[in-house]
């Protein structure tokens, strides 16, 4: 059967509805699959139909029904008394209002909890007074700020000590390892000379740095003085950093 582009256009809906005969359908398929004009036409029509069917059904505008009823049946009698109150309360049952109310309540509870305004074990009505909420929130904010400042300050001290101790990365990790495992090669110029004198020099250097640090940080002065009073040669750099860090952490 001979099939033309005009036939494709004319019978496209019948084809999509499955109303063509078997012969017509075969001819349609053969033509469309080989025609540069009809292939995009069929696919775009199918796409258009699916787009049309995917269009959402709009909600009726809320006032439309009331406007129609007012225009046809006349203005409705005003509801008064209990009936009006019940109608008003029924409005709160709408899902939109309920979701909104729940989210507002959740936010309010979260703010109250975070601000520490309410003791959930012993809640009191006075906790909900605005002045109490403000006072507790203010207190919590200041406490959080003070804790944060102290934490940052402690971290700074620890990092400063560790960075000063790491300045010489050749420091042996303990006294046993103080002696280099391999003898220095002749002609070596990388500064890795005999360990003992260099270790002692470095220990003196670290000791002096710790003394300066102890003066800067009075709280640590007692702990650092132990370290800097000649016992440093028994403690390695890494262990010292760890020991001071640990003490600071505990404090």
């Amino acid at each position: 059967m001979n099939w033309t582009c005009e036939q494709t256009e004319l019978l496209l809906t019948d084809y999509l509805d499955g109303l063509l005969t078997a012969d017509e359908q075969r001819a349609f398929d053969l033509h469309v699959n080989s025609c540069e004009r009809c292939t995009p036409l069929v696919s775009s029509v199918v796409h258009t139909m699916s787009s049309l069917r995917a269009l959402p059904e709009l909600e009726t505008p809320p006032r439309l029904v009331y406007n129609i009823l007012d225009a046809t049946l006349g203005p409705r009698d005003k509801v008064t008394g209990w009936a009006a109150f019940l109608a008003w309360v029924r409005g709160f049952a709408s899902p939109k209002f309920a979701y909104g109310a729940v989210s507002v309540a959740a936010t309010f509870l979260m703010v109250l909890t975070v601000s520490g305004s309410i003791n959930w074990k012993k809640p009191r009505l006075a906790d909900l007074a605005p002045s109490n909420i403000y006072r507790n929130t203010n207190r919590q904010a200041h406490l959080a700020y003070a804790r944060g400042t102290k934490y940052v300050s402690d971290l700074r001290v620890v990092y400063e000590i560790q960075s000063r101790l790491r300045q010489d990365n050749d420091l042996p990790t303990n006294r046993e390892n103080a002696t280099p495992e391999s003898k220095p090669q002749p002609g070596r110029t990388d500064g890795s000379g005999p360990a003992a004198p260099r270790q002692q020099n470095r220990a003196n250097d670290v000791s002096s740095q710790l003394q300066v640090l102890a003066e800067e940080v009075p709280l640590l002065s007692g702990k650092l003085s132990l370290v800097s009073s000649g016992r440093l040669d028994f403690i390695t750099g890494g262990k010292l950093g760890f020991a001071i860090g640990g003490k600071l952490g505990v404090r």
Binding site: T13, H47, L52, E59, P61, V65, N67, T72
Partner: protein
């Protein structure tokens, strides 16, 4: 359908609540037809109200033997929409398609991909826009078939034309709409 006929009878006997029920049952469908035809919410709302006013006034002329109440209402809606189209035809500014139609943004060049919901919303707006560019006779046929999912016989009753004409209009409407969408840059993915 039977329930509609019963409600109509109650309305004719002066039962206001029956009329209210009819309005609630059909207002969404009528509003959607009006919106898809005009592409304007305010116009659709006003036209829906006019439809119900006319139905209310001519309710006595409805005979269930002539078809379902929904089909009859759709027919009234269609007549009002065509009247409205003819009335406002002179007022409409007839710009060329190139001027009026938004062209799809080139996604690759824009550098960011909108999420699926945004894409769907964009496509809906483009399809709605394309619909309003169809001639009214093709537009109503496509709306009734592809949006309202009416049978050919129901569309035939609404449009008061032979079934062959209905099919032909739907066919031409779909092809024309596909071409308009292609012109707007919307292509099958």
């Amino acid at each position: 359908m039977e329930q509609d006929a019963q409600l109509v009878q109650q309305c004719l006997q002066g039962d206001g609540s029956a009329w209210e029920e009819l309005v609630r049952r059909h207002s969404r469908r009528i509003f959607n037809i009006c919106y898809r035809f005009t592409g304007n919410r305010t116009e659709a709302e006003d036209l829906s109200q006019d439809v119900f006013l006319r139905v209310y006034r001519t309710l006595a002329s409805y005979r269930s033997a002539h078809g379902g109440f929904a089909t009859w209402m759709t027919s009234v809606t269609r007549n009002l929409l065509i009247d409205h189209y003819r009335r406002t035809k002179r007022d409409r500014v007839t710009d060329s398609l190139d001027d009026k139609m938004p062209v799809v943004e080139n996604k690759e060049s824009s550098g960011r991909r909108p999420d699926e919901q945004a894409l769907l919303g964009e496509l809906s707006a483009q399809v709605q826009n394309a619909l309003t560019h169809l001639s009214p006779e093709l537009r109503e046929a496509v709306i009734l078939r592809d949006l309202q999912q009416l049978e050919y016989s129901e569309i035939q009753a609404v449009l008061a034309v032979p079934e062959g004409t209905v099919k032909s209009r739907i066919n031409r409407g779909r092809i024309e709409l596909a071409r308009i969408l292609q012109h707007m840059g919307v292509r099958p993915s």
